[in-house]
């Protein structure tokens, strides 16, 4: 299993940020950064990260099943997380999420057949004052409307 030089540097930095002998502390960010590059935490990726930290793949698996952003199967190239928690719900977050389901033809935690889009009904994203809010991968889109969402998906489709 080989990673890109950028990811290798990132993983080394993360391990160095831990006190000596405590390298396994870097597990969660290491998994997340690795997943960003590989698309999913396949057994191969998990075994490699676990090996570097001197833990068992099972110990890594325990952690993966806890955190909502860590995933064993790939998401779409554009992963849409739409918040429907309180502040967003009060300003149309549920309607926005419903619109995304219809537009993309998928439901929560599903991926479009072409692998381009995936959808997740998210818990609070920390953008409550600019609700409803959503994420495309790591980029925030705030004060959303169904029309703005359509335009956003249009622009992402053009990026093929």
């Amino acid at each position: 299993m080989t990673f890109s030089p950028e990811l290798e540097t990132r993983l080394e930095t993360l391990m160095r940020s831990c006190p000596p002998g405590r390298e396994a502390s870097a597990l969660i960010p290491m998994l997340l950064y690795a997943q960003d590059e590989t698309g999913a935490l396949t057994s191969e990726v998990v075994e490699e990260v676990a090996r570097r930290l001197g833990i068992t793949p099972l110990q890594a698996d325990e952690v993966i099943s806890y955190y909502s952003m860590l995933r064993r199967r790939p998401a779409g190239r554009h992963h849409l997380q739409i918040c429907t928690n309180v502040s967003c719900m009060l300003r149309g977050g549920q309607e926005l999420y419903g619109h995304a389901c219809k537009r993309l033809g998928i439901r929560n935690h599903e991926v479009t057949a072409d692998g381009e889009f995936s959808l997740e009904e998210a818990e609070c994203l920390g953008a409550c004052s600019w609700a409803p809010a959503m994420l495309v991968n790591y980029d925030y889109h705030q004060d959303m409307t169904p029309e703005k969402l359509d335009r956003l998906i249009d622009s992402l489709e053009k990026k093929h």
Binding site: S25, P29, L32, T84, A127, C128
Partner: protein
């Protein structure tokens, strides 16, 4: 980046650099009194620094409102173990969106706050734990840290003082529970975010079982101004025992939602009307969640109060994390309760039974009720279930789910009863139950 217009009623202490050109850079920071608090702290004894923070009446901005100076004083300086500063940037309490602005607009202020805390307790390293969704903020923080190293504000022999301090960012990966301090420490150490049994508290056995100061982003961002201008000056901005300003996040049914820095003790109704431009669409105020979704709801008639920790506590709610959620007269409390409980059930780590089972059953009850299949007995059961969770869990998540639930059925019982007589779906439409 600023996402809302500032209000003329704001008192800008922590947010004074927001909107300045290049506010993320160390040059801008230094040109605007940056690191003056730290320079002052370098000439003080550790107990004097802690004394200054105590005099400021700064209380934890993550939600608990514990006096920050007292928290620092619990760290055993004499311990031979390394000491750590851990910053809680997990920001997950629904209604709260302030820490991200402090990191995005003024990352060096946080670094300076950590350095002052390090001097006070004798720490040599600090970790900034930031929720995984905030990747762009982690990148901003990483750039600011790198700049501080290059220019001698981090690393060895800082400003020629002999002090050594290292700072690292640490990404979360999606978990509300990791905003709870002991779960955060578990996550920082590479494990599931399950809370620890306390005592020992983090001040004695925190990160890597070493003495640790664990503060919210906003708490530490207030520290440079306290050391620069003095604790008394900061305290004078607020009300007795509630020093300074805080960042209030206005959201929900309000004309000008946004994050505003206001003095502690600012009147809630005035905040809604004069800072937030009033309830939207000319509607009447129904209720307010004063400090994030874990706080008991306040009816409109209870909202004429000073927003400080003690006054809101006297009103049997909490100032919490500063997330002020405004609800207009058309809001369905049944829909609100259903969505809120779905959240807590989703986020319960599952370790202790009252929380795991309590949130699950409350969610099931509420979803059934919301779908139009409730009974009168369900309303009592919701309150009973929630009261039996209170104080019976290892961490505050169980209470965070139970307290608002109790307030919904106590204060809006009539609405629950009325809901029984209606077809499914309130004014907000049906809550989608998916996944």
């Amino acid at each position: 980046m600023l996402y809302n217009q500032p209000s003329p009623l704001e008192v800008k202490v922590l947010t004074r650099r927001f909107g300045l050109p290049d506010s993320q850079s160390l040059d801008t920071y230094l040109a605007t009194e940056g690191f003056q608090g730290f320079r002052r702290a370098l000439e003080m004894k550790p107990e004097e620094i802690i004394g200054e923070v105590m005099a400021s009446n700064l209380r934890g901005r993550g939600g608990a409102g514990f006096p920050a100076g007292m928290k620092w004083s619990f760290v055993p300086r004499a311990s031979s173990k390394p000491k750590y500063i851990v910053v809680n940037g997990d920001e997950g309490e629904p209604g709260t969106c302030k820490d991200r602005l402090l990191i995005e607009n003024d990352p060096h202020q946080l670094i300076e706050g950590m350095l002052i805390a390090a001097l006070a307790v004798g720490a040599a390293a600090g970790y900034i734990y930031i929720r995984g969704e905030y990747r762009r903020l982690i990148e901003i923080m990483d750039r600011a840290i790198a700049e501080a190293y290059r220019k001698g504000y981090l690393g060895e022999n800082i400003l020629g003082s002999g002090l050594r301090f290292d700072v690292y960012t640490h990404s979360g990966a999606g978990s509300y529970e990791c905003g709870e301090e002991s779960a955060l420490l578990e996550s920082l150490e590479g494990r599931r975010g399950v809370p620890r049994i306390r005592p020992p508290f983090p001040a004695v056995a925190g990160a890597f079982q070493c003495p640790t100061v664990l503060n919210n982003v906003e708490t530490l961002c207030a520290v440079p101004a306290i050391l620069r201008d003095g604790g008394a000056a900061f305290a004078a901005l607020g009300t007795p025992k509630n020093g300074g300003t805080r960042l209030f996040c206005l959201s929900g049914h309000i004309n000008k939602p946004g994050v505003y820095e206001l003095p502690m003790g600012f009147n809630l109704l005035r905040m809604i009307d004069e800072v937030g431009g009033g309830v939207w669409k000319g509607k009447k105020l129904k209720a307010v969640i004063p400090g994030g979704s874990s706080c008991p709801i306040l009816k409109a008639s209870e909202c004429d109060l000073a927003m400080d920790f003690d006054t809101v506590a006297k009103a049997r709610s909490m100032l919490g994390s500063g997330g002020v959620v405004v609800l207009d007269e058309d809001t369905s409390i049944v829909s609100l309760a259903t969505r809120v409980m779905r959240f807590y059930q989703h986020e319960s780590c599952g370790w202790c039974v009252p929380c795991r089972e309590g949130t699950t059953w409350l969610r099931k009850l509420l979803e059934r009720f919301h779908a139009g299949h409730g009974t009168l007995a369900d309303i009592d059961l919701m309150g009973d279930l929630a009261r039996n969770m209170l104080g019976r869990t290892f961490c505050p998540l169980g209470d965070a789910a139970a307290m608002p639930m109790i307030s919904y059925v106590e204060k809006f019982r009539g609405e629950f009863e009325e809901y029984l007589n209606r077809t499914p779906g309130g004014p907000l439409g049906r809550v989608t139950i998916d996944g």
